[in-house]
Symmetry: C2
Subunit: 197 residues, 2 copies
């Protein structure tokens, strides 16, 4: 055991505890409170495991998808959560997140820093089958919560179905089946009066 290496790993593990304090715009199913980034990251990783059969690409590496989903939000410890419909805050998002990735993954030993950085960059670039599916899962989860909790975040931020479609249509690249399911969910949400048409 190399004590310096283990100390670096433990430093990162202690630092990412802060992901439990980054609060998202998504409300829990029972609408009692918003969820944290750590809770979201857990939920989507379980979802990827369960829903892998709906990935567009056969032979997708689901272990890699899960690794991406576990760590992709870590940058929000420094950069904060950017609500997907907040176009102003999104302007410097890339820059903020790049700096955060360098600082946070930089706490790790070089080989693990590189591994995590590459996973994060692949997720962000969204041009491999794994990244496309991971993004689809990351996108469907808050929609599912909103549908089940009576549209909390949609109503608070006055979001319309066309806005949701516009920001989420990339889901079809990762999973046509989940995108089709999502559109049915959104139609039903409009019918129920919890999402503007």
């Amino acid at each position: 055991m190399n004590p310096i290496r283990l100390a670096q790993q433990m430093k990162f593990i202690a630092e990412v505890d802060k992901l439990k304090q980054v609060v998202r715009e998504s409300w829990l199913v029972d609408a009692s409170r918003k969820e944290t980034d750590a809770e979201h990251s857990w939920h989507i990783t379980v979802m990827a495991l369960l829903l892998s059969e709906y990935a567009n690409h056969d032979g997708i590496d689901i272990f890699k998808v899960m690794k991406m989903l576990l760590i992709h939000d870590v940058v929000e410890i420094d950069a904060g959560d950017t609500f997907i419909y907040d176009k102003d805050h999104a302007k410097d998002q890339n820059n903020r997140e790049q700096k955060a990735a360098n600082r946070l993954f930089g706490l790790l030993p070089a080989d693990q820093k590189d591994e995590f950085k590459v996973l994060w960059e692949e997720f962000e670039a969204m041009n491999t089958p794994e990244a496309m599916f991971a993004r689809a899962i990351d996108s469907i989860q808050p929609l599912l919560l909103a549908y089940l909790n009576g549209g909390c975040s949609w109503r608070i931020h006055s979001i319309s179905k066309s806005q949701v479609i516009e920001t989420k249509k990339h889901m079809g690249n990762g999973s046509s089946e989940l995108w089709k399911y999502t559109q049915e969910l959104l139609d039903d949400a409009v019918k129920k009066g919890i999402l503007k048409s």
Copy 2:
């Protein structure tokens, strides 16, 4: 796409949202509040990925370890969190958790119900290299939090080092190196006055 199958999967995904409401006896690193089971599950899954090199057994299937860690606490949605030092509450823990596993994993399509149940049972039985390492990670995480937050849960529940050693010594079966590291941490915690000797 089989709509009944997808509906079962989505039902499970909605139900396990409740893991975000199961509060543990572990406090965050900054001691501001206790963590939830969903947050803990995320944290330990990241830790397993980072610390796999310290597993006693070569060639361990770390993907399987991560799957176990992601889902092993789901039973606490029905059975509640059992504080490891609470011997009275632990008496009917197995029975409560077995019922919970049947109900919760039973929401899934049969093949996935079986997969998750087998993973959970393997974790509980702790007699494969993967389960032993998963349990070591599940055990070191709250110790690390307690060490970093000034011993919140140790002080509140008046826990001594010998109690910690007694309940956590199984860690050595999964990782001698992490168990050695843990013992050094505990010695230091006693020295700092945050854990009774």
